[in-house]
Symmetry: C2
Subunit: 160 residues, 2 copies
């Protein structure tokens, strides 16, 4: 493994660990448990799960892996706060969305070369990227891993 590949492997390891933690949490909860709030008046676990799914789905075009699979998740899980949208997808459907997004993202990430990782992501223009070469795909991976960690910290506050 080259040095560049090692940097990537460490970051992919962290990403995969966080995905596994999220799955271990969400896959083992009943529908009732998924409706618990992380703290009084705060987001419910099901909202966090949908939020992760929507944010990860948006990584597909951002990283150049093709169009989004489920853009309809943005309204209930990104642009609206929790409880503002009454009809959330049923749990079984949400799990399918999560599985599909996680698989497609995983396949795309596995194919990136070191050079691909350091190329710009699709929400930064070539001009802005020339000014700040840190706005690359690798930055997206680290940022989204931190994002999972941030909300998992909240999710663990729910008493078992």
């Amino acid at each position: 493994m080259s040095n560049q590949e090692t940097f990537v492997a460490v970051a992919m390891n962290a990403w995969n660990t966080h995905i596994e933690r999220a799955e271990k949490l969400f896959f083992n909860l009943s529908k009732e448990q998924l409706h618990a709030e992380v703290a009084p008046g705060k987001n419910r676990l099901i909202y966090l799960w949908g939020h992760f799914t929507a944010v990860h789905d948006a990584m597909l075009p951002l990283l150049g892996f093709g169009p989004r699979l489920y853009p309809q998740l943005d309204t209930p899980f990104i642009t609206s706060p929790d409880k503002a949208v009454a009809d959330l997808p049923p749990v079984a459907e949400l799990k399918k969305f999560w599985d599909d997004v996680t698989r497609k993202l995983s396949e795309g990430l596995a194919k990136l070369t070191a050079e691909d990782w350091l190329a710009r992501h699709n929400s930064v223009s070539a001009e802005d990227f020339a000014k700040n070469p840190l706005r690359n795909r690798f930055a997206i991976l680290l940022s989204r891993t931190n994002h999972v960690s941030y909300h998992l910290g909240q999710a663990t506050l729910v008493s078992k």
Copy 2:
């Protein structure tokens, strides 16, 4: 900047951003606000601040930057849960601990070469590192950044 340096720069950027977020949060809170719990019965903000400081202090020997500055923080902020130790350091003292640790860590991190980042950290043996070369300094940086993110997600639940 070489490709290897770019991978490091992206990760250092994420680390620094998280340190700044923690400072923006903690430095602007009164003593009373620091004693708020992130959720009923859960950790207080002052505990999280001390916890970060102790965990980051432990990064110094782990990354080869010298001995710990404040090992006495482990008992109140790592090995004991919140509220188990009655006498926490006064806020002004805790801020000094944080500042000292953050500065010393920052100086050490700034000096690491790409090769240093990929070398083993001090809690893995040479033998175990040979089996798993991902247990390097870079992995520690990503893991500790995620750790800050995890608890900041909790800290933001405190209502302003």
